[in-house]
Amino acid sequence: MTIPEIFNILQEKFPEAELVLEENNPDPIIRAKCEAIADISLLLRDDPDFSFDSLMCLSGVETVEEFQTVYHLYSMLHNHKVTLRAGGTKEEELIVPTVSHIWPTADWHERESFDLFGIKYTDHPDPRRILLPDDWVGYPLRKDYEPQKTWHKIPLTAIDYKEEDNGDES
């Protein structure tokens, strides 16, 4: 099934999901409203015509205007792919329903995108940071992220030898 076909069926089934087909990419992407993602995913997995049984990748993205979560789905049965995207403006926190009950692999991927982008996932079974320590400040993959200077008294900056040398001479 091609992506426009999938898009048409989805648009029929979810008229309220504000579905948009972004065709300016090498592969078209279906954009949906955040709230509708879990329902769409469930349909995509369970409908025998789609049967997207594997979630290849789930990534957080920051564009100039907004934060997004991108889902790359694949069906081992029908051998077709689709990309979903949910996004929200930077002014407010992006909250997306979790898909970890649909594809368990999303569990860790969602945790990662929360960890690095601060995207929240509702009903996530284990909403903790995954890569960084729990008490880390900020979301590093945001473009405006300021790195921490120290963490638990461990210095995280390089020693500036030039400055030290100057200090010795004076």
Partner: protein, 400 residues
Amino acid sequence: MSEIREIDIPVGATPQKISQMLENFEDVHGERMVVQMGPQHPATHGVLRVELETDGEMIMKATPHIGYLHRCFEKTCESMTWQQVVAYTDRLDYCSSANNNLGYVLACEKMFGIEVSERVQTIRVLVSELNRLASHFIAIGTYGLDIGAWTPFLYLIQEREHILDLFDRLCGGRLLLNYMRIGGLTHDLPDNWLKEVHEYLSYMEGKLDEVNSLLSYNKIFVERLANVAIISEDMCIKYGLTGPNLRGAGKKWDLRKNEPYCGYETYDFDIPVGDGEVGTIGDCWDRYIVRVKECEQSMRIIKQATERLEKMPGDDVLAAIPKSMTKVAPGEIYFRTEHPKGELGFYIVSNGKKFPWRLKCRAPSFSSLSVMSAVSPGLLIADMVALIGSIDIVLGEVDR
């Protein structure tokens, strides 16, 4: 005096079933021991920490904690030019750097519409298959080490050294190659290199049988691994386990065949799958033996690639490398390749500038590791070691 109860775990029970049974089973004394396995532990293959809740030696709950090697790959790449990122992909899964390079350069080439010559493709196949061999040798060897057999590990590292020698001659690096470029390679093959590859192949003949007789079919080894930590095909797909882990569960799935890239469709090789030879399909032993069998197939591909390269007229491997990558096409792409550990995907977003806007690496080990907490309830500590080894993780890739 409290009554001591026993749980009867039926043979062939699914991990979910076992975990459910264990949930319902109340410990008589209400005491469970929490043990931290790692980050400094010989069996965790690096800096993984697994928090084990045990009752005696039986694991009730295992929670993996990762991030001890989070080296900020994705953030760093956003400040590197497109070509510079290749060096960082080396350090993702440091056991198989050429395969990482391949995944990244193919993704970029597809996005920017760069065509490379057939010779470059064949060299890439050759190098990445050699690296797959090296990576599987480490996986097999360290697995033996986990189970308590020292000697096979050292033998396999020894065989791996020969591959590293070849790499050393090829590009000067033993472990991290940084050999591929978007649009080509850093330089052509050295003189006589193909002959050395041939020599290596003839040297390796029969060595895998030695591995099989020393380790794979060793009675104790089989006893330790058969019917342990079964991950079914369904579960593999759900949890995103790919590569040898999925094939070990009996699914004939290999991106080199199913979604061919780099001309893999023209090579003659098989996809080994686990068939429950000594136990149940999808147990630790099946996942292990798939790797051993894959080594044979890799050698077949290497042989074919070398023969083709010998016949092929030489060309400029740098020809298709773009002269400047300061202005590129905007867009985004997700591209995946078959990596020794599974499917390595790169999700690249370009805004048309010099640097990638966003680069997400879908690491196979990351997904593979997430299955651990679902499989481990009901295992013994020794089985846990076998499980970690059998899904073959590399922490550089898990944490990125």
